[in-house]
């Protein structure tokens, strides 16, 4: 690429990064708001959030289109191409996380209609874990920080354990009192959605490692395990 083309390409990459960060910020705030609405049983806010997937969906299409255009126009190779491919994967993960935040908001709408379980089940610790994972994965992506990304990968196990504990608690509460069933199932789905968001944060962290080290760490354990 000549100097002029290079400058234009760099501007394109900058635009892409800005839009990715904007999209990520939106998903983060939807998740925060959905969890807050769930906690304080704020039905109207939850209803608004349950219908708020449009901006994230439009950003997904916009970012994908930007990626394809950058590849077609500038035919980047090596680390530039790798960044764009990672961006396309990131966009897919962000869009799914946005959907899952919407799913949590939908459950929050239902759960706002009846009193909380007594004693209440607190999803905040698991929610905080997942929010921290997402934030750290995004920070690692912005800073191209492989070490930070690897720290995110480890955290996923903590979230899985939190999910299993909540699962056992909720099953016990349903067995104890059939009147708990609907609410407990609602919370079970919220917990499952949180666990899935953590999986997507893991995917993002894996992309950061790929981006910075050129090493594909997805399914690392499955490659290492012999069967």
């Amino acid at each position: 690429m000549d100097q002029h083309t290079l400058q234009k390409f760099d501007r394109g990459l900058k635009t892409l990064t800005d839009r990715l960060l904007f999209m990520a910020g939106l998903v983060e705030s939807h998740l925060n708001d959905a969890l807050a609405a769930l906690q304080i049983q704020d039905g109207p806010t939850a209803e608004r959030l349950a219908k708020s997937d449009r901006p994230v969906n439009l950003l997904e299409m916009e970012c994908d289109e930007l990626c394809v255009r950058l590849i077609a126009q500038y035919q980047p190779v090596a680390s530039d191409l790798r960044f764009i491919v990672a961006a396309m994967k990131l966009v897919t993960d962000l869009e799914r996380m946005g959907d899952l935040a919407v799913n949590i908001a939908e459950r929050a709408v239902e759960l706002s209609r009846s009193p909380k379980l007594d004693p209440p089940i607190d999803l905040r610790p698991m929610g905080a874990l997942v929010q921290a994972m997402l934030k750290e994965a995004l920070d690692a992506f912005i800073g191209r920080d492989a070490a930070a990304a690897e720290a995110v990968l480890v955290r996923d196990d903590v979230v899985d354990t939190a999910f299993r504990d909540l699962f056992a608690t909720l099953i016990a509460r349903m067995k104890k009192d059939p009147g708990n069933v609907e609410r407990a199932v609602g919370l079970l789905f919220v917990a499952k959605h949180l666990e899935r968001i953590a999986d997507h944060a893991t995917n993002i962290a894996e992309q950061v490692v790929y981006l910075t080290r050129g090493q594909d760490v997805r399914h690392k354990s499955s490659v290492e395990s012999s069967d």
Copy 2:
């Protein structure tokens, strides 16, 4: 591209397509086997399937790597580039479907350990719907058939309705008898996994439309809806 390079590129595309089809066939057969094991409460088969994610994971990495190499070496544009981008998205969906088939097998292991609900809940109709959707989405991809892909998009609503019906039935069974809770929750998760597989089949169908018509139909309703 000169004639020789073009031939090499075409061979690369052919290899990519073959590997995608191989990966898709594997995912289809894992799903079929997991549902069959669930139905006949075949614990040993379900256990084997629950540990069978490795080949699909390896194929995901291989196909992604192939895509990046084809872009870097041949710098394709227009419909060739679009095909490779669609392939990268397809691979992500196939890998997730493979994971969901594993999740179904994991539930089938648990559910094989206790007698079926009485009367039993039959997940076969929903399973058959989802399997048909997956098959049709893959056929549409192979044949680059936009009309067939659009038929898949419509089917997703039928699956959502089947899920909602099963959800209501399972909640009622849990409320009626707390002894049903674990098994009903297990089946609820299987139904949820099937619904997610249908979502991924929808994604594939959307990629086919993008590929054949150059038109991004993802989130079409969210673009059309005014809010």
